[in-house]
């Protein structure tokens, strides 16, 4: 980075070498009122574990606010503060700036403190995208914005968000007798957008808690590299996706193995596909059919074979037609789009 950037030192957070090296201490613990098999709660647990005790967490409204801090109780060990729905970006920047000033003025001991602001897909990809974008352009403030994406406004009983995949059943897109497909938008490409649009942001990554060690190491890198960073996590949601909580972990794996959820990191502008995604791109393993993923979830129970084929064709496009496969949806030619009649 250029020398004019006044960046404070960050904590030294080396990657955990193996699952057995992961510390036993929990900084986000039990007693939250999330659903059985909640993968977003797992994001909180892994995030707190990865960051360690010298961390401040800010959470915008969503499941991970409402369920984790019910009336005068909490499951946070770390200091945590609620912030408004769209303000995870502002809260991260503000907390980081405040720490910087307090330390400069000698009101606090000089020490690197992690600042993490999390948001759901509603708070992040919909309402908070402006503030997150603004924060990622400020190179002088150390903070991580972590978006836990369960593909709907899950807290208020599953309204569709900019992150909901095409065709999914939500409170706002219930399939009817006349029209089957009530949601015709495609999921917003948050991580790709943040990486492509913010040259000052040194680290952007996608993660999934089914690959917990890799996810925690991404978080540690995001916190240690300095400046504002962004991580996007895909979290299977038993409530909104309508499945038996028992298969939470398996669905995360399926999302990656079917190519729907590519795992990658962009560090100082250098793109690196990671984990199973890297193996898929290198053709070491084959992408699993998207059908395997869709048929496991009640939110896609109304899909016909045509719908499944169309969904598959859009995932194939991600990998075969995108100039940066799985990451950036630029194409060399205009493609015709022919969704099945609904």
């Amino acid at each position: 980075m250029a020398t004019y950037v006044q960046i404070d030192p960050t904590q030294k957070l080396d990657p955990f070498k193996a699952v057995k090296k992961i510390p036993l201490e929990e900084y986000f613990t039990s007693g939250h009122r999330t659903c059985q098999g909640c993968e977003s709660a797992l994001v909180m647990k892994m995030m707190a574990k990865a960051a360690g005790p010298r961390t401040i967490v800010l959470g915008s409204t969503g499941c991970m606010y409402v369920a984790n801090t019910t009336y005068y109780s909490t499951s946070w060990v770390l200091p945590w503060m609620h912030t408004q729905l769209g303000s995870s970006g502002s809260a991260a920047l503000g907390a980081s700036a405040a720490l910087k000033v307090l330390m400069r003025k000698g009101k606090m001991k000089q020490e690197p403190i992690n600042v993490i602001a999390f948001c759901g897909d509603g708070g992040g990809a919909d309402m908070g995208v402006g503030a997150i974008s603004a924060t990622l352009t400020h190179p002088d403030y150390n903070c991580l914005i972590l978006m836990y994406d369960n593909e709907s406004y899950a807290n208020t009983d599953i309204q569709l968000s900019g992150s909901t995949p095409w065709g999914a059943n939500t409170t706002f897109s219930t399939p009817g007798k006349v029209k089957r497909i009530m949601h015709r938008r495609w999921k917003k490409n948050m991580a790709g957008m943040m990486a492509a649009g913010h040259p000052t942001c040194r680290y952007v990554a996608t993660v999934c808690m089914s690959y917990g060690l890799a996810a925690m190491n991404s978080m540690r890198k995001a916190l240690a590299i300095g400046g504002p960073t962004f991580i996007h996590s895909l979290d299977p949601c038993p409530k909104g996706w309508d499945y038996d909580p028992y298969i939470s972990h398996e669905l995360g794996e399926l999302a990656v193995n079917t190519g729907i959820w590519p795992l990658y990191e962009v560090e100082d502008g250098v793109l690196k596909l990671t984990g199973r995604t890297q193996q898929i791109a290198a053709k070491k393993i084959q992408r699993q059919p998207v059908r395997d993923y869709l048929l496991r979830q009640g939110r896609f129970a109304h899909f016909t074979n045509d719908d499944i084929d169309y969904f598959q064709s859009k995932i194939d496009e991600m990998w075969e037609k995108w100039l940066v496969p799985g990451v950036i949806p630029f194409r060399t030619d205009v493609e015709a789009d022919a969704p099945p009649s609904s």
């Binding site: 900084y27 007693g31 659903c35 647990k45 409402v66 801090t69 009336y71 208020t156 309508d242």
Partner: protein, 390 residues
């Protein structure tokens, strides 16, 4: 003054949300056929629901409009004629979103009121789970596997209409079988459902539970600060950092036990619990790492003990465990206490082995929702068959 009827439905959040809504709605519609007025609603304090966390719905019916209005002036009924409990594991108590601590399943029942429970268990097992009540009440068991599904795909196994048939038998002043069958056909256009309701009506019996029967424990409760007692900025004390574990036998210290939110024990959030075989555990860490509720305590020798104060019974630990039958999910009705399995194992390994094998040998089937398309269609015939058993 007319008569007011109150019926509550205690159910598992999300898993049985659709069923509870259908039940309370159909109760009111059936009462309409007898010239009564009513209203059906979900308990606001339980919203937004979470999978598995207990919730309540109500149907309030009156013989005239004025009585209904008087009944509805309360936020929710103080006593009910019938409590419908659609999951037998809830008989251990209800710890919901809406309050702190455990409430007995029969808490709102009027003296002589009826508790309807869907279960495969007999009355002894249900009575042993439910807390004692000062006044006698009736217990009626609707035989069948507990029906769970999700928000979007409903498992239409007739549990709802069978309960409606049972209500007609138990509370004939509310509505007759004929009225409830009319409401069922109007709502769901299915004569077979009306037949199922009639069959349940014929089979429904109840027994009296006396004040000396049931679980003698006093349900736990927590006192939290009132709004005027809260500190500035509504700051909440955080949870302490946790501590090492103590071996009950050797008193060696080690491992790690996290401190937990003390005001929410998950004793009644579970419908299943993991049973761990410590002898075959390979210490791979996966159950501990992948548990969204951080329920596993790490023992001094590096084993993982599912702490029942934190486990909500999702089953992810069983799903990720690479060893066969090392972690097995077993129906919550099979257990009495919430003690540490690891401590039991440390004290008596042979005894634990016998206990474990007995628990995991014939775990009763319980389905927590949608695993693949077509699964409900496979399950429904079997569930209907169990429902028809004498």
């Amino acid at each position: 003054m007319g008569r007011l009827f109150a019926i509550e439905i205690i159910y598992r959040g999300i898993f049985q949300k659709t069923m509870a809504g259908r039940l309370s709605r159909a109760i009111v519609l059936a009462a309409h056929h007898e010239g009564k007025v009513g209203i059906s609603f979900g308990r606001y304090g339980d919203s937004p629901e979470r999978n598995g966390i207990p919730a309540k719905g109500f149907a309030i019916v009156a013989t005239d409009e004025q009585t209904l209005q008087e009944g509805m002036a309360k936020y929710e009924p103080k006593e009910v004629d019938v409590t419908i409990c659609v999951d037998d594991t809830l008989c251990k108590g209800v710890e919901s979103w809406a309050w702190y601590g455990l409430q007995p399943v029969n808490r709102l029942l009027k003296p002589g009121g009826t508790l309807i429970v869907t279960s495969r268990e007999g009355p002894e097992a249900i009575i042993a789970m439910a807390h004692r009540k000062d006044t006698p009440y009736q217990l009626s068991i609707l035989k069948g596997t507990v029906s769970f599904s999700g928000l979007w795909v409903y498992k239409d196994d007739h549990t709802d209409v069978r309960i409606l048939g049972a209500v007609a038998k138990i509370l004939p002043e509310l509505f007759s079988l004929k009225s409830v069958q009319r409401a069922i056909v109007d709502e769901w256009h299915d004569e077979l459902k009306a037949t199922s309701a009639a069959k349940a009506y014929d089979r429904t019996t109840s027994i009296t539970v006396t004040p000396d029967q049931g679980n003698p424990e006093v349900p736990y409760k927590f006192d939290l600060p009132k709004w005027h007692e809260m500190g500035e900025g509504i700051a909440i004390p955080s949870i302490p950092a946790g501590h090492k574990m103590d071996d009950p036998k050797s008193h060696a210290e080690g491992g790690f036990q996290p401190d937990r939110n003390p005001t929410f024990l998950k004793f009644s959030t579970r419908t299943m619990r993991p049973v761990v075989n410590f002898d075959t555990c390979i210490k791979c860490t996966l159950c501990w790492l992948q548990c969204p509720d951080s329920c596993f305590d790490v023992t001094p020798e590096g084993l993982y003990d599912a702490n029942m104060k934190a486990c909500c019974g999702c089953g992810v630990c069983e799903a990720v465990c690479p060893v066969k039958e090392c972690v097995t999910m077993v129906n919550e009705t099979e257990f009495k206490g919430n003690d540490s399995q690891w401590e039991d194992w440390r004290k008596d390994k042979d005894g634990y082995k016998v206990w474990l094998e007995e628990k995991i040998k014939h775990p009763p089937e319980r389905s927590h929702g949608f695993r693949y398309r077509g699964q409900y269609e496979e399950q429904i015939p079997e569930m209907l068959e169990i429902a028809q058993e004498k």
